[in-house]
Amino acid sequence: MVVKRLDGRKADEMRPITAKVGIIPNADGSAMFTFGNTVAIAAVYGPRMLHPQHMQDPKGAVLRVNYDLLSFSVLDRKKPGPSRRSQEISKVTEWALSPALDLKEFPNTVVDVQIYILQANASTRVAGINAASMALAQAGIPMKNLVCGVSVGKLDKDLVIDVNDTEEHFEEGEGATDFATAKLANTDEYTLLQLDGKIQPNLIPQALALADKACAKIYEVQKKALKNVAEGDEK
């Protein structure tokens, strides 16, 4: 696969990724994750009592995710407050994280995950998932494993990893496809699959294989960031 990308990256090359855990002292867990110019931060509060009472679940903690863009994170200022887009992303993020969590031990409580985008340059929802998954781990919520997310793009006929803003608006040939994916690390279990664009059904497995490779790298960066903060705590 030979693709010319505007920023010179190879098809299977992500933008530089960074991760930092423990960025919000008030939170039970918190983290930042970046894909190039996309910056996401997440905080976890809980398990804590859930009010009103009728929302409580005696079978375990309720996971509640809120995702949004900060008003200045995009070129045209985003009106503060939830939009239909942010409500949809909050819900799919909740579904992306919940398969990793074991919340049985915390009846009638809530685990709140707050995700905000400081700077948006595509792939914000998967950056948010990567940050939130580290924040949940730092908060000590029982987890099967971390969740790693990355978006796969298709520009005309070629698959590429981690699309940026310009690539999202690619218009030649078959145009741009954005395929946001997340999975439980080290498994073939996908917890987020969300796609817009034009892609042939037989390319879906190839796109997932590309995502798998990138997720393995993201997983290492996430683990390292968690280890750094754990070692810092010991000192």
Binding site: E88, K91, V92, T187, D188, E189, Y190, K198, L208
Partner: protein, 273 residues
Amino acid sequence: MSSMGLSSLTYNTLSKMFAEGKRFDGRKLIEQRDFSVEYNVSNKAEGSARVRMGKTEVVVGIKLEVGTPYPDSMDKGNLMVSGDLLPLASPRFESGPPKFAAIELPRLIDRMIRESHVIDLKKLVITEGEKVWTVIIDIYPINDDGALIDAASIGAIAALLQTHIPALDKDCKIDHESKSTKKLPLLEDTIPLSFTFYKLGESLIIDPTREEEEACDGKIVWGISNWKGKEHMIHSCQKGLETAITRQNVDEMMKHLPKVYDDTLKKLKKFLK
């Protein structure tokens, strides 16, 4: 009774039956219910359709308004998809601000239609940079017995294919008096439709009844077309619910999806005028 949740008995029975490849209504796991399409739900709409799929019934109406183009698409008309899960259609639907399911339904239909480019928005400019047509697709379930998104996609496409552009007077106001026969510009040979695969245990099913839908713990909605009459093309996809979808699940869906699409398209063509 009607508002009771799913019982453990039903859940366990369904899990067992799905594992054996069986369903309450005798269908195969990957088999859609028969459906029918009627037109002219409202003669005040520029296009409308009613879909009945098993006991599920959805109406879709299309209105056209004169609007202004969005700054990032000055050379195109606008598309809006909206709708609501009215308490009329199910004891499970409540009045008040829209819940997630009521946001998800129009958004998924929007993405399927927008990404397939089935509506030629560039041909909906009235005066360049100033006035364009805004196409508004409104979706309302009348009776929910599962697979609302799938039924809504059939209804939206059927209604779009019916839609005409109203006549304008000299001030660019819609002239409701004169009948227009001008059709909405659509991309020929591209018909997008949505199909939701549900997962219970290791079993995958399509077109669930409400009861089956409530038993399942994972789903993916796929929007697919026969793009320009040439090849199958996926335009939208969204995974939902708490269970992960395995690689094997995705492979199985990719095996069934084109065929399910072809079958439904064939049935739909009988109803297209």
